[in-house]
Amino acid sequence: MPMERYYQPEIECASREQILAWQNERLVGQVHNVWDNVPYYRKKMEEKGLTPDDIKGVEDLHKLPFVTKDDLREAYPYGLVARPLKDCVRIQSTSGTTGKRVVAFYTQHDIDLWEDCCARAIVAAGGTNEDVCQVSYGYGLFTGGPGLNGGSHKVGCLTIPTSSGNTERQIMFIRDLNATILCCTPSYAAYIGETMKEMGLTPDQIPLKAGIFGAEAWSEEMRQDIQNTLGIKAYDIYGLTELSGPGVSFECSAQTGMHINEDHFIAEIIDPKTGEVLPEGEQGELVFTSITKEAFPLLRYRTRDICVLSHEKCSCGRTFVKMCKPRGRSDDMLIIKGVNVFPSQIETVLIAQGYQANYQLIVDRVNNTDTLEVMVEMTPENFSDNLGKINEMEKHLVAALKAMLGIYAKVRLVAPKTIARSEGKAVRVIDKRKI
Protein backbone atom coordinates (compact mmCIF):
# COMPACT_ATOMS: atom_id res chain seq x y z
CA MET A 1 0.00 0.00 0.00
CA PRO A 2 1.69 3.25 -1.09
CA MET A 3 1.76 6.10 1.39
CA GLU A 4 -1.23 8.42 1.02
CA ARG A 5 -0.26 11.77 -0.41
CA TYR A 6 -2.00 15.10 0.03
CA TYR A 7 -1.75 18.34 -1.87
CA GLN A 8 -2.58 20.47 1.17
CA PRO A 9 -2.33 18.09 4.15
CA GLU A 10 -2.88 20.81 6.75
CA ILE A 11 -6.26 21.50 5.18
CA GLU A 12 -7.29 18.09 3.90
CA CYS A 13 -6.53 16.42 7.24
CA ALA A 14 -7.52 19.31 9.52
CA SER A 15 -9.51 18.57 12.66
CA ARG A 16 -13.27 18.83 12.40
CA GLU A 17 -13.13 21.75 14.86
CA GLN A 18 -10.75 23.56 12.55
CA ILE A 19 -12.90 22.88 9.48
CA LEU A 20 -16.00 24.14 11.31
CA ALA A 21 -14.13 27.25 12.43
CA TRP A 22 -13.13 27.99 8.82
CA GLN A 23 -16.67 27.40 7.64
CA ASN A 24 -18.20 29.63 10.32
CA GLU A 25 -15.89 32.51 9.59
CA ARG A 26 -16.08 32.21 5.80
CA LEU A 27 -19.84 31.77 5.73
CA VAL A 28 -20.39 34.93 7.77
CA GLY A 29 -18.02 36.79 5.47
CA GLN A 30 -19.73 35.44 2.36
CA VAL A 31 -23.19 36.43 3.61
CA HIS A 32 -21.95 39.98 4.17
CA ASN A 33 -20.33 39.91 0.74
CA VAL A 34 -23.54 39.00 -1.10
CA TRP A 35 -25.64 41.35 1.03
CA ASP A 36 -23.35 44.22 0.16
CA ASN A 37 -22.63 43.39 -3.46
CA VAL A 38 -25.50 41.37 -4.95
CA PRO A 39 -28.89 43.12 -4.88
CA TYR A 40 -30.51 39.87 -6.02
CA TYR A 41 -29.36 38.11 -2.85
CA ARG A 42 -30.19 41.04 -0.62
CA LYS A 43 -33.73 41.00 -1.96
CA LYS A 44 -34.04 37.25 -1.42
CA MET A 45 -32.79 37.63 2.16
CA GLU A 46 -35.06 40.59 2.82
CA GLU A 47 -38.03 38.57 1.61
CA LYS A 48 -37.23 36.10 4.37
CA GLY A 49 -36.77 38.91 6.88
CA LEU A 50 -33.06 38.20 7.20
CA THR A 51 -30.07 40.49 7.63
CA PRO A 52 -26.44 39.36 7.67
CA ASP A 53 -26.51 39.56 11.49
CA ASP A 54 -28.89 36.59 11.55
CA ILE A 55 -26.18 34.31 10.17
CA LYS A 56 -23.59 33.77 12.89
CA GLY A 57 -22.25 30.48 11.63
CA VAL A 58 -23.00 27.16 9.96
CA GLU A 59 -25.79 26.46 12.47
CA ASP A 60 -27.74 29.37 10.93
CA LEU A 61 -27.20 28.27 7.33
CA HIS A 62 -30.66 26.64 7.16
CA LYS A 63 -32.27 30.07 7.58
CA LEU A 64 -30.97 31.27 4.21
CA PRO A 65 -33.11 30.94 1.10
CA PHE A 66 -32.13 28.41 -1.55
CA VAL A 67 -30.69 29.32 -4.90
CA THR A 68 -31.88 27.27 -7.87
CA LYS A 69 -31.13 27.07 -11.56
CA ASP A 70 -34.19 29.28 -12.09
CA ASP A 71 -32.49 31.99 -10.04
CA LEU A 72 -29.43 31.67 -12.26
CA ARG A 73 -31.61 32.07 -15.32
CA GLU A 74 -33.46 35.02 -13.88
CA ALA A 75 -30.24 36.74 -12.85
CA TYR A 76 -28.51 35.96 -16.16
CA PRO A 77 -25.94 37.12 -17.02
CA TYR A 78 -24.60 39.45 -14.31
CA GLY A 79 -27.26 39.37 -11.60
CA LEU A 80 -25.34 37.14 -9.19
CA VAL A 81 -21.87 38.51 -9.80
CA ALA A 82 -20.40 39.88 -6.57
CA ARG A 83 -17.30 41.58 -7.94
CA PRO A 84 -16.82 44.38 -10.48
CA LEU A 85 -16.26 42.84 -13.90
CA LYS A 86 -12.81 44.41 -14.03
CA ASP A 87 -11.84 41.99 -11.24
CA CYS A 88 -13.21 38.97 -13.13
CA VAL A 89 -10.88 37.14 -15.49
CA ARG A 90 -12.86 34.19 -16.84
CA ILE A 91 -16.26 32.74 -17.46
CA GLN A 92 -17.21 29.09 -17.84
CA SER A 93 -20.61 27.97 -18.94
CA THR A 94 -23.02 25.06 -18.86
CA SER A 95 -26.54 24.38 -20.06
CA GLY A 96 -29.47 26.06 -18.42
CA THR A 97 -33.00 24.74 -18.24
CA THR A 98 -34.53 26.40 -21.27
CA GLY A 99 -31.80 27.56 -23.52
CA LYS A 100 -30.34 30.32 -21.38
CA ARG A 101 -26.96 29.05 -20.39
CA VAL A 102 -25.53 29.23 -16.91
CA VAL A 103 -22.56 31.56 -16.95
CA ALA A 104 -20.21 31.45 -13.96
CA PHE A 105 -17.62 34.15 -13.31
CA TYR A 106 -14.16 33.81 -11.78
CA THR A 107 -11.61 36.16 -10.32
CA GLN A 108 -7.99 35.04 -10.51
CA HIS A 109 -8.32 34.05 -6.85
CA ASP A 110 -11.35 31.89 -7.67
CA ILE A 111 -9.42 30.11 -10.40
CA ASP A 112 -6.51 29.54 -8.01
CA LEU A 113 -8.74 27.91 -5.43
CA TRP A 114 -10.55 25.86 -8.07
CA GLU A 115 -7.25 24.60 -9.41
CA ASP A 116 -6.18 23.76 -5.85
CA CYS A 117 -9.25 21.59 -5.53
CA CYS A 118 -8.38 19.80 -8.77
CA ALA A 119 -4.78 19.43 -7.62
CA ARG A 120 -6.03 17.74 -4.43
CA ALA A 121 -7.90 15.24 -6.61
CA ILE A 122 -4.84 14.53 -8.74
CA VAL A 123 -2.59 14.03 -5.70
CA ALA A 124 -5.24 11.84 -4.06
CA ALA A 125 -5.04 9.69 -7.19
CA GLY A 126 -1.30 9.36 -6.61
CA GLY A 127 -0.15 12.20 -8.86
CA THR A 128 3.20 13.95 -8.33
CA ASN A 129 5.40 16.25 -10.36
CA GLU A 130 6.94 13.15 -11.93
CA ASP A 131 3.67 12.23 -13.60
CA VAL A 132 2.52 12.92 -17.11
CA CYS A 133 -1.13 13.93 -16.98
CA GLN A 134 -3.24 13.76 -20.10
CA VAL A 135 -6.36 15.92 -19.90
CA SER A 136 -8.88 14.51 -22.34
CA TYR A 137 -11.83 16.47 -21.02
CA GLY A 138 -13.15 19.09 -23.39
CA TYR A 139 -11.51 22.49 -23.14
CA GLY A 140 -13.51 25.63 -23.59
CA LEU A 141 -16.72 26.68 -21.88
CA PHE A 142 -16.92 23.21 -20.30
CA THR A 143 -15.09 23.24 -16.96
CA GLY A 144 -13.59 19.74 -17.25
CA GLY A 145 -10.56 20.59 -19.37
CA PRO A 146 -9.60 23.96 -17.82
CA GLY A 147 -10.10 22.68 -14.25
CA LEU A 148 -7.99 19.55 -14.46
CA ASN A 149 -5.46 21.34 -16.64
CA GLY A 150 -4.96 23.93 -13.90
CA GLY A 151 -4.83 21.28 -11.19
CA SER A 152 -2.27 19.30 -13.15
CA HIS A 153 -0.06 22.40 -13.46
CA LYS A 154 -0.31 23.02 -9.73
CA VAL A 155 0.81 19.49 -8.96
CA GLY A 156 3.64 19.98 -11.43
CA CYS A 157 2.67 17.15 -13.75
CA LEU A 158 3.76 17.37 -17.36
CA THR A 159 0.35 18.22 -18.78
CA ILE A 160 -0.90 17.03 -22.18
CA PRO A 161 -3.94 19.14 -23.08
CA THR A 162 -5.38 16.83 -25.73
CA SER A 163 -8.99 17.84 -25.01
CA SER A 164 -11.61 15.30 -26.07
CA GLY A 165 -11.91 13.44 -29.36
CA ASN A 166 -9.46 12.04 -31.91
CA THR A 167 -8.98 8.81 -30.01
CA GLU A 168 -6.05 7.62 -32.13
CA ARG A 169 -4.10 10.73 -31.24
CA GLN A 170 -5.06 10.30 -27.57
CA ILE A 171 -3.60 6.81 -27.60
CA MET A 172 -0.51 7.93 -29.49
CA PHE A 173 0.27 10.52 -26.81
CA ILE A 174 -0.45 8.13 -23.95
CA ARG A 175 2.04 5.66 -25.43
CA ASP A 176 4.68 7.97 -26.88
CA LEU A 177 4.81 10.41 -23.94
CA ASN A 178 4.20 7.77 -21.27
CA ALA A 179 1.13 9.40 -19.81
CA THR A 180 0.54 8.05 -16.31
CA ILE A 181 -2.68 9.87 -15.41
CA LEU A 182 -5.73 10.23 -17.63
CA CYS A 183 -8.50 12.78 -16.95
CA CYS A 184 -11.74 12.48 -18.91
CA THR A 185 -15.34 11.33 -18.69
CA PRO A 186 -15.67 7.67 -17.61
CA SER A 187 -17.37 6.77 -20.88
CA TYR A 188 -14.51 8.22 -22.87
CA ALA A 189 -12.02 6.36 -20.67
CA ALA A 190 -13.89 3.14 -21.41
CA TYR A 191 -13.84 3.94 -25.10
CA ILE A 192 -10.12 4.65 -25.08
CA GLY A 193 -9.63 1.38 -23.18
CA GLU A 194 -11.61 -0.63 -25.68
CA THR A 195 -9.82 0.93 -28.62
CA MET A 196 -6.49 0.02 -27.04
CA LYS A 197 -7.69 -3.51 -26.47
CA GLU A 198 -8.70 -3.77 -30.12
CA MET A 199 -5.21 -2.62 -31.02
CA GLY A 200 -3.96 -5.65 -29.12
CA LEU A 201 -2.54 -3.69 -26.19
CA THR A 202 -2.55 -5.42 -22.80
CA PRO A 203 -2.75 -3.41 -19.54
CA ASP A 204 0.98 -3.88 -18.87
CA GLN A 205 1.77 -2.21 -22.20
CA ILE A 206 -0.22 0.89 -21.24
CA PRO A 207 1.80 3.37 -19.13
CA LEU A 208 -1.28 4.80 -17.36
CA LYS A 209 -1.56 4.12 -13.64
CA ALA A 210 -4.49 6.27 -12.58
CA GLY A 211 -7.51 7.98 -14.05
CA ILE A 212 -9.68 10.83 -12.77
CA PHE A 213 -13.10 10.47 -14.28
CA GLY A 214 -16.17 12.58 -13.76
CA ALA A 215 -18.87 14.81 -15.27
CA GLU A 216 -21.27 11.90 -15.68
CA ALA A 217 -22.71 9.00 -13.74
CA TRP A 218 -20.85 5.70 -13.78
CA SER A 219 -21.34 2.46 -11.96
CA GLU A 220 -18.97 0.32 -9.90
CA GLU A 221 -19.09 -2.25 -12.72
CA MET A 222 -17.92 0.37 -15.18
CA ARG A 223 -15.12 1.29 -12.79
CA GLN A 224 -13.99 -2.34 -12.66
CA ASP A 225 -14.10 -2.57 -16.45
CA ILE A 226 -12.02 0.56 -16.94
CA GLN A 227 -9.55 -0.47 -14.25
CA ASN A 228 -9.08 -3.89 -15.82
CA THR A 229 -8.79 -2.75 -19.42
CA LEU A 230 -6.39 0.10 -18.77
CA GLY A 231 -4.61 -1.46 -15.79
CA ILE A 232 -5.20 1.63 -13.66
CA LYS A 233 -6.95 2.75 -10.53
CA ALA A 234 -9.99 4.85 -11.51
CA TYR A 235 -11.00 7.77 -9.28
CA ASP A 236 -14.27 9.65 -9.34
CA ILE A 237 -14.44 13.44 -9.26
CA TYR A 238 -17.51 15.63 -8.83
CA GLY A 239 -18.31 19.23 -9.50
CA LEU A 240 -20.63 21.79 -11.00
CA THR A 241 -19.85 24.80 -13.13
CA GLU A 242 -22.09 26.84 -10.86
CA LEU A 243 -19.75 26.16 -7.94
CA SER A 244 -16.45 26.23 -9.88
CA GLY A 245 -16.24 22.99 -11.86
CA PRO A 246 -14.70 19.59 -11.17
CA GLY A 247 -13.07 19.28 -7.77
CA VAL A 248 -15.97 20.19 -5.51
CA SER A 249 -15.33 16.68 -4.24
CA PHE A 250 -12.93 13.90 -5.17
CA GLU A 251 -12.16 10.30 -4.41
CA CYS A 252 -9.22 9.05 -2.38
CA SER A 253 -7.51 5.64 -2.33
CA ALA A 254 -10.39 4.21 -0.30
CA GLN A 255 -12.73 4.64 -3.30
CA THR A 256 -15.73 4.74 -0.99
CA GLY A 257 -17.10 8.18 -1.74
CA MET A 258 -15.83 11.62 -2.62
CA HIS A 259 -14.34 14.00 -0.07
CA ILE A 260 -16.00 17.40 -0.31
CA ASN A 261 -13.54 20.29 -0.19
CA GLU A 262 -15.16 21.67 2.92
CA ASP A 263 -12.84 24.61 3.30
CA HIS A 264 -14.57 25.98 0.17
CA PHE A 265 -17.97 24.37 0.14
CA ILE A 266 -20.52 23.61 2.86
CA ALA A 267 -22.70 20.65 1.99
CA GLU A 268 -26.22 19.97 3.22
CA ILE A 269 -28.71 17.22 2.41
CA ILE A 270 -32.31 18.36 2.18
CA ASP A 271 -35.66 16.84 1.50
CA PRO A 272 -36.25 17.96 -2.11
CA LYS A 273 -39.99 18.31 -1.47
CA THR A 274 -40.03 20.26 1.78
CA GLY A 275 -36.59 21.84 1.75
CA GLU A 276 -35.98 20.59 5.32
CA VAL A 277 -32.40 19.74 6.21
CA LEU A 278 -32.05 15.99 6.77
CA PRO A 279 -29.89 14.37 9.42
CA GLU A 280 -26.57 12.84 8.44
CA GLY A 281 -26.80 9.52 6.67
CA GLU A 282 -30.18 10.20 5.12
CA GLN A 283 -30.62 10.35 1.40
CA GLY A 284 -31.77 13.62 -0.11
CA GLU A 285 -30.84 16.48 -2.39
CA LEU A 286 -27.34 17.84 -2.14
CA VAL A 287 -27.10 21.58 -1.47
CA PHE A 288 -23.85 23.56 -1.57
CA THR A 289 -22.77 26.93 -0.28
CA SER A 290 -19.56 28.28 -1.76
CA ILE A 291 -17.85 30.17 1.04
CA THR A 292 -14.66 31.29 -0.66
CA LYS A 293 -15.92 32.25 -4.11
CA GLU A 294 -15.38 35.92 -4.87
CA ALA A 295 -16.99 36.53 -8.24
CA PHE A 296 -19.88 34.08 -8.25
CA PRO A 297 -20.80 33.02 -4.72
CA LEU A 298 -23.78 30.73 -4.36
CA LEU A 299 -25.59 30.30 -1.08
CA ARG A 300 -27.48 27.06 -0.60
CA TYR A 301 -27.42 26.10 -4.24
CA ARG A 302 -29.70 23.18 -4.98
CA THR A 303 -27.72 20.74 -7.12
CA ARG A 304 -30.74 18.44 -7.72
CA ASP A 305 -28.35 15.53 -7.21
CA ILE A 306 -29.69 12.89 -4.83
CA CYS A 307 -26.97 11.88 -2.44
CA VAL A 308 -25.91 10.73 1.03
CA LEU A 309 -23.16 12.30 3.16
CA SER A 310 -20.93 10.37 5.52
CA HIS A 311 -18.63 11.63 8.27
CA GLU A 312 -17.24 8.17 8.92
CA LYS A 313 -13.48 8.19 9.46
CA CYS A 314 -11.71 7.55 6.19
CA SER A 315 -8.70 5.26 5.87
CA CYS A 316 -6.95 7.87 3.72
CA GLY A 317 -6.62 10.25 6.67
CA ARG A 318 -8.67 13.05 5.16
CA THR A 319 -11.24 14.55 7.49
CA PHE A 320 -13.51 16.08 4.84
CA VAL A 321 -17.03 14.68 4.73
CA LYS A 322 -17.66 12.16 1.97
CA MET A 323 -20.54 12.11 -0.50
CA CYS A 324 -21.66 9.03 -2.37
CA LYS A 325 -21.93 8.96 -6.14
CA PRO A 326 -25.12 10.86 -6.99
CA ARG A 327 -27.96 8.34 -7.02
CA GLY A 328 -30.31 10.26 -9.23
CA ARG A 329 -31.81 13.68 -9.81
CA SER A 330 -34.64 15.53 -8.18
CA ASP A 331 -35.34 17.22 -11.51
CA ASP A 332 -35.45 15.97 -15.08
CA MET A 333 -31.92 16.92 -16.07
CA LEU A 334 -30.03 14.29 -18.03
CA ILE A 335 -26.30 14.06 -18.27
CA ILE A 336 -25.41 12.86 -21.75
CA LYS A 337 -21.78 12.64 -22.79
CA GLY A 338 -21.00 14.76 -19.75
CA VAL A 339 -23.30 17.51 -20.97
CA ASN A 340 -26.35 18.68 -19.02
CA VAL A 341 -29.50 18.25 -21.04
CA PHE A 342 -32.94 19.37 -19.99
CA PRO A 343 -36.00 18.07 -21.85
CA SER A 344 -37.33 21.63 -21.73
CA GLN A 345 -34.43 22.75 -23.95
CA ILE A 346 -35.42 20.19 -26.56
CA GLU A 347 -39.02 21.30 -26.30
CA THR A 348 -37.97 24.90 -26.96
CA VAL A 349 -36.19 23.84 -30.15
CA LEU A 350 -39.05 21.65 -31.39
CA ILE A 351 -41.61 24.40 -30.98
CA ALA A 352 -39.34 26.94 -32.67
CA GLN A 353 -38.98 24.55 -35.62
CA GLY A 354 -42.72 24.07 -35.95
CA TYR A 355 -43.02 20.63 -34.38
CA GLN A 356 -45.40 19.54 -31.65
CA ALA A 357 -44.23 19.63 -28.06
CA ASN A 358 -45.07 15.95 -27.95
CA TYR A 359 -41.77 14.12 -28.09
CA GLN A 360 -39.79 11.36 -26.49
CA LEU A 361 -36.10 11.17 -25.70
CA ILE A 362 -34.32 7.87 -25.83
CA VAL A 363 -30.98 7.84 -24.09
CA ASP A 364 -28.74 4.84 -24.44
CA ARG A 365 -25.12 3.87 -24.09
CA VAL A 366 -23.69 2.14 -27.15
CA ASN A 367 -20.05 1.01 -26.99
CA ASN A 368 -19.68 3.06 -23.83
CA THR A 369 -20.77 6.22 -25.58
CA ASP A 370 -24.01 7.94 -24.70
CA THR A 371 -26.52 8.37 -27.47
CA LEU A 372 -29.55 10.63 -27.62
CA GLU A 373 -32.46 10.07 -29.95
CA VAL A 374 -35.31 12.54 -30.20
CA MET A 375 -38.57 11.03 -31.41
CA VAL A 376 -40.80 13.70 -32.82
CA GLU A 377 -44.09 13.54 -34.64
CA MET A 378 -44.39 14.73 -38.22
CA THR A 379 -46.76 17.66 -38.65
CA PRO A 380 -48.88 18.59 -41.69
CA GLU A 381 -46.92 21.84 -42.02
CA ASN A 382 -43.55 20.12 -42.10
CA PHE A 383 -44.66 17.33 -44.37
CA SER A 384 -43.89 17.34 -48.08
CA ASP A 385 -44.29 14.90 -50.94
CA ASN A 386 -40.62 15.55 -51.56
CA LEU A 387 -38.37 13.35 -49.47
CA GLY A 388 -35.47 15.76 -49.98
CA LYS A 389 -37.45 18.54 -48.31
CA ILE A 390 -38.26 16.35 -45.31
CA ASN A 391 -34.59 15.44 -45.09
CA GLU A 392 -33.72 19.11 -45.19
CA MET A 393 -36.15 19.88 -42.33
CA GLU A 394 -34.69 17.02 -40.36
CA LYS A 395 -31.17 18.36 -40.87
CA HIS A 396 -32.30 21.81 -39.69
CA LEU A 397 -33.76 20.25 -36.59
CA VAL A 398 -30.58 18.28 -35.89
CA ALA A 399 -28.52 21.45 -36.29
CA ALA A 400 -30.85 23.46 -34.03
CA LEU A 401 -30.67 20.75 -31.37
CA LYS A 402 -26.88 20.67 -31.64
CA ALA A 403 -26.76 24.45 -31.24
CA MET A 404 -28.97 24.30 -28.16
CA LEU A 405 -27.54 21.22 -26.45
CA GLY A 406 -23.97 21.18 -27.64
CA ILE A 407 -24.22 17.49 -28.51
CA TYR A 408 -25.51 15.53 -31.47
CA ALA A 409 -29.00 14.14 -31.19
CA LYS A 410 -30.43 11.78 -33.74
CA VAL A 411 -33.89 12.83 -34.85
CA ARG A 412 -36.50 10.21 -35.62
CA LEU A 413 -39.62 11.45 -37.33
CA VAL A 414 -42.63 9.34 -36.50
CA ALA A 415 -46.26 9.29 -37.53
CA PRO A 416 -48.70 11.48 -35.59
CA LYS A 417 -50.09 10.05 -32.36
CA THR A 418 -47.31 7.46 -32.25
CA ILE A 419 -45.89 8.93 -29.07
CA ALA A 420 -48.11 7.97 -26.21
CA ARG A 421 -50.04 10.80 -24.63
CA SER A 422 -49.95 9.63 -21.10
CA GLU A 423 -52.39 10.84 -18.53
CA GLY A 424 -50.77 13.20 -16.12
CA LYS A 425 -47.02 13.30 -16.33
CA ALA A 426 -45.80 12.47 -19.81
CA VAL A 427 -43.07 9.89 -20.19
CA ARG A 428 -40.63 12.13 -21.97
CA VAL A 429 -37.45 10.25 -21.29
CA ILE A 430 -36.53 6.63 -21.71
CA ASP A 431 -33.07 6.13 -20.28
CA LYS A 432 -31.78 2.71 -21.25
CA ARG A 433 -28.31 3.24 -19.79
CA LYS A 434 -27.44 0.81 -17.05
CA ILE A 435 -25.69 3.10 -14.61
Partner: protein
Protein backbone atom coordinates in the same frame (compact mmCIF):
# COMPACT_ATOMS: atom_id res chain seq x y z
CA UNK B 1 -58.28 18.51 -65.27
CA UNK B 2 -55.14 18.24 -63.23
CA UNK B 3 -54.25 14.90 -61.76
CA UNK B 4 -53.46 15.07 -58.06
CA UNK B 5 -51.27 12.73 -56.15
CA UNK B 6 -51.89 12.06 -52.48
CA UNK B 7 -48.66 11.87 -50.50
CA UNK B 8 -48.80 10.17 -47.11
CA UNK B 9 -46.15 10.20 -44.36
CA UNK B 10 -45.12 6.68 -43.46
CA UNK B 11 -43.22 5.74 -40.40
CA UNK B 12 -40.88 2.88 -41.20
CA UNK B 13 -42.51 0.15 -39.17
CA UNK B 14 -44.13 -3.17 -39.89
CA UNK B 15 -47.71 -2.99 -41.02
CA UNK B 16 -47.95 0.71 -41.87
CA UNK B 17 -48.47 0.08 -45.58
CA UNK B 18 -50.87 -2.80 -44.98
CA UNK B 19 -52.93 -0.52 -42.75
CA UNK B 20 -53.36 2.06 -45.49
CA UNK B 21 -54.15 -0.40 -48.28
CA UNK B 22 -56.71 -2.07 -46.02
CA UNK B 23 -58.38 1.28 -45.37
CA UNK B 24 -58.57 1.87 -49.13
CA UNK B 25 -59.95 -1.60 -49.70
CA UNK B 26 -62.58 -1.23 -47.00
CA UNK B 27 -63.74 1.97 -48.64
CA UNK B 28 -63.83 0.62 -52.17
CA UNK B 29 -61.10 2.94 -53.33
CA UNK B 30 -59.05 1.83 -56.31
CA UNK B 31 -55.41 2.73 -56.74
CA UNK B 32 -54.19 3.82 -60.16
CA UNK B 33 -50.61 4.30 -59.12
CA UNK B 34 -48.50 3.74 -56.03
CA UNK B 35 -44.90 4.55 -55.28
CA UNK B 36 -42.79 4.83 -52.15
CA UNK B 37 -39.74 6.93 -51.42
CA UNK B 38 -38.02 6.04 -48.19
CA UNK B 39 -35.12 6.59 -45.85
CA UNK B 40 -34.23 4.11 -43.13
CA UNK B 41 -36.61 5.79 -40.67
CA UNK B 42 -39.55 7.04 -42.68
CA UNK B 43 -41.02 7.25 -46.12
CA UNK B 44 -43.49 9.03 -48.35
CA UNK B 45 -46.22 6.97 -49.95
CA UNK B 46 -47.45 8.46 -53.23
CA UNK B 47 -50.86 7.43 -54.43
CA UNK B 48 -53.13 8.19 -57.32
CA UNK B 49 -56.62 6.92 -56.64
CA UNK B 50 -59.98 6.92 -58.36
CA UNK B 51 -61.65 8.89 -55.53
CA UNK B 52 -59.14 11.48 -54.31
CA UNK B 53 -61.46 13.53 -52.08
CA UNK B 54 -62.89 10.52 -50.31
CA UNK B 55 -59.39 9.10 -49.80
CA UNK B 56 -58.07 12.36 -48.42
CA UNK B 57 -60.85 12.78 -45.89
CA UNK B 58 -60.72 9.15 -44.73
CA UNK B 59 -56.95 9.16 -44.26
CA UNK B 60 -57.04 12.53 -42.46
CA UNK B 61 -59.74 11.21 -40.21
CA UNK B 62 -57.53 8.20 -39.39
CA UNK B 63 -54.79 10.60 -38.33
CA UNK B 64 -52.43 10.28 -41.27
CA UNK B 65 -50.38 13.23 -42.42
CA UNK B 66 -50.76 13.90 -46.10
CA UNK B 67 -50.60 16.47 -48.84
CA UNK B 68 -52.07 16.88 -52.33
CA UNK B 69 -49.62 17.47 -55.14
CA UNK B 70 -50.39 18.24 -58.78
CA UNK B 71 -48.58 15.82 -61.10
CA UNK B 72 -48.47 15.22 -64.83
CA UNK B 73 -49.54 11.87 -66.28
CA UNK B 74 -47.90 11.42 -69.65
CA UNK B 75 -48.97 8.79 -72.16
CA UNK B 76 -46.08 7.01 -73.80
CA UNK B 77 -46.08 4.15 -76.31
CA UNK B 78 -45.54 0.79 -74.63
CA UNK B 79 -42.49 -0.23 -76.65
CA UNK B 80 -38.73 0.05 -76.47
CA UNK B 81 -37.70 3.71 -76.56
CA UNK B 82 -41.22 4.92 -75.70
CA UNK B 83 -40.13 7.01 -72.71
CA UNK B 84 -36.80 8.24 -74.00
CA UNK B 85 -38.08 11.21 -76.08
CA UNK B 86 -40.03 12.58 -73.08
CA UNK B 87 -36.96 12.59 -70.88
CA UNK B 88 -34.95 14.08 -73.72
CA UNK B 89 -37.42 16.99 -73.86
CA UNK B 90 -37.18 17.45 -70.12
CA UNK B 91 -33.40 17.56 -70.31
CA UNK B 92 -33.40 20.05 -73.18
CA UNK B 93 -36.01 22.21 -71.46
CA UNK B 94 -33.84 22.27 -68.32
CA UNK B 95 -36.67 20.99 -66.18
CA UNK B 96 -35.83 19.04 -63.05
CA UNK B 97 -37.61 15.78 -62.36
CA UNK B 98 -38.27 15.48 -58.63
CA UNK B 99 -39.58 11.96 -59.06
CA UNK B 100 -41.51 9.77 -61.49
CA UNK B 101 -43.28 6.45 -61.45
CA UNK B 102 -45.60 4.41 -63.63
CA UNK B 103 -49.37 4.24 -63.55
CA UNK B 104 -51.39 1.06 -64.00
CA UNK B 105 -53.48 1.13 -67.12
CA UNK B 106 -55.58 -1.16 -69.25
CA UNK B 107 -55.11 0.75 -72.48
CA UNK B 108 -53.43 -1.54 -74.94
CA UNK B 109 -50.27 -0.29 -76.57
CA UNK B 110 -49.73 2.63 -74.23
CA UNK B 111 -48.29 3.23 -70.79
CA UNK B 112 -48.63 6.22 -68.49
CA UNK B 113 -45.81 7.80 -66.55
CA UNK B 114 -46.47 10.14 -63.63
CA UNK B 115 -44.06 13.07 -63.38
CA UNK B 116 -43.43 15.53 -60.62
CA UNK B 117 -41.25 18.27 -62.10
CA UNK B 118 -39.84 21.63 -61.07
CA UNK B 119 -41.97 23.59 -63.56
CA UNK B 120 -45.29 21.97 -64.37
CA UNK B 121 -46.55 24.62 -66.83
CA UNK B 122 -43.39 24.64 -68.83
CA UNK B 123 -43.43 20.86 -68.88
CA UNK B 124 -47.00 20.51 -70.20
CA UNK B 125 -46.45 23.25 -72.78
CA UNK B 126 -43.34 21.48 -73.98
CA UNK B 127 -45.16 18.17 -74.22
CA UNK B 128 -48.07 19.54 -76.26
CA UNK B 129 -45.71 21.39 -78.60
CA UNK B 130 -44.12 18.06 -79.30
CA UNK B 131 -47.37 16.19 -79.71
CA UNK B 132 -47.03 14.15 -76.56
CA UNK B 133 -50.31 13.38 -74.88
CA UNK B 134 -50.98 14.40 -71.29
CA UNK B 135 -53.76 12.41 -69.67
CA UNK B 136 -56.57 14.09 -67.76
CA UNK B 137 -58.54 12.64 -64.87
CA UNK B 138 -61.40 11.36 -66.95
CA UNK B 139 -59.12 9.39 -69.21
CA UNK B 140 -57.57 7.70 -66.18
CA UNK B 141 -60.90 7.00 -64.54
CA UNK B 142 -60.33 9.43 -61.72
CA UNK B 143 -63.32 11.13 -60.19
CA UNK B 144 -63.46 14.04 -57.76
Amino acid sequence: MTVYQISVFLENRTGQLAEITQILADNQINMCAISIAETSDYGVLRLIVDQPQKTTSILLEKGFILSKTPVTAVMVPDRPGGLAPVLQLIAEGEIDVEYMYSLFTHKAGNAYMVFRVSDNEKFTALLSQNGIHVADRQELGIGD
